[in-house]
């Protein structure tokens, strides 16, 4: 592979790592801080992507939208839309055990996918929305990628700083107290339900933002752009491997898993065409297996949850005497 090609590929990879890192950060707020099992990540991603697309593209026959707004407004809209979707789901499902939330979130993602595919007036159906402008998209290929990478990194760093600050602030301590011992937290008068909803919504907003970032990078968004279950699963294993409860872990996990995923794609691309299709599913199998291995042998992840005066182990995935939610 010639050098330029390699550089472009590296940039491309870095951008995707940035986007997935954002998703993983969002999941970290929901799962790492608040102990909420969200299996519908792809749904919030899609909501964000489409919202930004609808808001920031020029008018198009047959579908609403076309407000042609600046991409920043599109991205803010994406976060708001994802948050708005998360709110009712959270209100209904968060008071139950995580299992029920898991199933409900799978359902939500499914409904969102159905809506996107079917409501052509909103989303252009299977054709998707194209012609999304990429900021700095008009300069040269590599330059444009570099520029976008800078934007993605800026967003990621901003998000990281915000989330990390919250984590260290009283809010973060309270979230973890609720996560680890709900009964005690409730007794102390903390409004458990509201706090969990907060976490769920914030996490969803970040996921929506990730979707918007993707849509603008790709310059288009279709229902098939990402395989929802693959994407959702990738984000989960990124967080678990990186270290749930740890923001740097989320980012590290995104990098590690995405690199493994990409490299394995390169490796299997070299196989003869008959095996090419199977190759994707072999890679999926291995990713699934990787999760089992991480859960068994290193559940706290590469970067465990940082000590904050409590025991350092990841309380939600490691051995516990009491049968905990």
């Amino acid at each position: 592979m010639e050098f330029l090609g390699l550089v472009n590929y590296a940039l491309f990879t870095a951008i995707f790592i940035g986007i997935y890192a954002l998703l993983a950060l969002g999941l970290n707020i929901q799962w790492g801080f608040a102990g909420l099992f969200n299996a519908g990540i792809a749904g919030f991603f899609a909501v964000g992507a489409y919202t930004s697309a609808i808001l920031s593209t020029p008018p198009d026959d047959g579908r609403i939208g076309g407000f042609d707004l600046h991409f920043v407004l599109g991205w803010i809209g994406a976060m708001l839309a994802a948050a708005l979707v998360a709110w009712p789901i959270g209100k209904i499902c968060l008071r139950f055990r995580s299992d029920y939330l898991a199933i409900a979130s799978i359902g939500v993602a499914e409904i969102i996918r159905l809506v996107i595919k079917s409501e052509a007036a909103l989303t252009n159906g299977a054709r998707g929305i194209s012609g999304i402008s990429r900021p700095m998209g008009d300069i040269g290929y590599m330059e444009s990628q570099i520029a976008y990478l800078v934007i993605v990194l800026a967003v990621l760093i901003a998000a990281y700083v915000l989330v990390e600050r919250q984590f260290n602030a009283p809010w973060g301590r309270m979230m973890r107290a609720i996560r680890d011992n709900e009964g005690a937290a409730e007794a102390m008068g903390k409004d458990v339900e509201f706090r969990r909803l907060e976490a769920f919504i914030f996490g969803a907003a970040l996921m929506g933002l990730g979707g918007a970032l993707f849509a603008h990078f790709n310059r288009s968004i279709t229902p098939e752009a990402i395989d929802p279950m693959v994407a959702t699963f990738l984000v989960w294993i990124m967080l678990i491997l990186g270290g749930s409860g740890n923001n740097r872990g989320a980012i590290l996990g995104a990098a590690v898993v995405w690199i493994i995923w990409s490299v394995s794609e390169i490796a299997t691309d070299r196989l003869p065409p008959e095996y090419a299709i199977q190759a994707k599913y072999i890679r999926l199998f291995l990713i699934g297996l990787m999760l089992q291995l991480v859960l068994r042998f290193r559940p706290e992840g590469l970067l465990p949850e940082p000590l904050r005066g409590d025991r350092g182990e990841d309380r939600r995935t490691s051995k516990s005497g009491a049968d905990r939610e």
Partner: protein
């Protein structure tokens, strides 16, 4: 008026009962796992997919009829279920249950990938050709639809007999009722767990098989059933076998009837709506099960 009634029955209710029976088979397994192992098994749908495709392998490999392949598929899937538990879930038993739920999401992906690698992603069927329904006093029913409902009744009926009459069946109920006391009474937890997986795995195979028999085989077929299966189990009441059957039938019929008033693309949303509704209004389900 008569015509409309029969139209309703033939095009909506009967397919709904068939689909409901397929859901019921899966939902019973889910409710058992909820009751005894106390978590949501997210790989249940893909276990059904595996069962369907194992049956396909028997049909194409040994040249036997699909129905003859069913028992083999049931045995193989039951064995796979026990194997999965031994290799992947057993080690997580000391941890919070949600970890096993997470693992099961990964197992779902792995099962699906195996099917995709071995059998590819193209749609397949057990037998080619259109099957015309027989006429039973104005009701149009296909043989395979009869088999589906009959099989569900037989399998679940057999399970109920097992649970109410046999010692180990009662042991399963005891573990679901009061796991601590079951242990104190000397009931071997490990054996009950294995039994649970055998039953759940076997029923899954039947569920996937009959879905494939009545429609077609796709690698995502089981995953697409996951939500309806869970909706059915929760609708009926977690831990209640009869509830899972009732829930399955209701979800199936509701799904088929739904096209009368919502666009058909949203059929799948019906199950979700039922799930949310139950969680909001009556989480213990129709037959008062547990709330986990």
């Amino acid at each position: 008026m008569d015509l409309e009634l029969f139209e309703l029955l033939n095009f909506y209710v009967i397919p709904g009962i068939v689909l409901g029976s397929i859901y019921a088979l899966g939902a019973v397994g889910i409710t058992l796992i909820f009751a005894i192992l106390r978590y949501a098994h997210l790989a249940h749908g893909d276990l059904a997919t595996l069962g369907a495709f194992v049956a396909l392998a028997c049909v194409t490999g040994f040249g036997i009829s699909p129905l003859a392949a069913l028992p083999i598929a049931i045995l193989v899937t039951a064995a796979v279920a026990v194997g999965i538990d031994k290799v992947f879930y057993e080690h997580l038993r000391e941890r919070p249950k949600i970890v096993t739920v997470m693992a099961s999401l990964g197992i779902a992906l792995m099962l699906r990938s195996v099917v995709q690698v071995v059998w590819g992603v193209d749609t397949q069927t057990y037998a080619r050709g259109i099957v015309r329904p027989e006429d039973y006093f104005g009701l149009r029913i296909r043989d395979r639809e009869l088999y589906t409902v009959a099989a569900m009744i037989l399998l679940v009926g057999g399970l109920q007999l097992f649970l109410t009459r046999s010692k180990w069946g009662k042991a399963m109920r005891a573990m679901s009722d009061n796991p601590n006391l079951a242990l104190l009474s000397g009931i071997d937890n490990k054996k009950v767990v294995i039994l649970t997986w055998i039953i759940a795995g076997g029923l899954c195979a039947a569920s996937g098989f009959f879905l494939g028999l009545n429609t077609e085989l796709k690698s995502l077929m089981g995953w697409n059933m996951l939500l309806p299966m869970f909706a059915a189990a929760i609708l009926g009441g977690v831990g209640r076998v009869e509830g899972a059957v009732l829930g399955g039938l209701i979800v199936g019929i509701a799904e088929e009837l739904s096209v009368l008033w919502i666009p058909s693309e949203y059929k799948a949303a019906m199950a979700f709506a039922i799930l949310l509704f139950m969680l909001l209004v009556r989480p213990t389900g129709l037959l008062k099960g547990k709330v986990l």
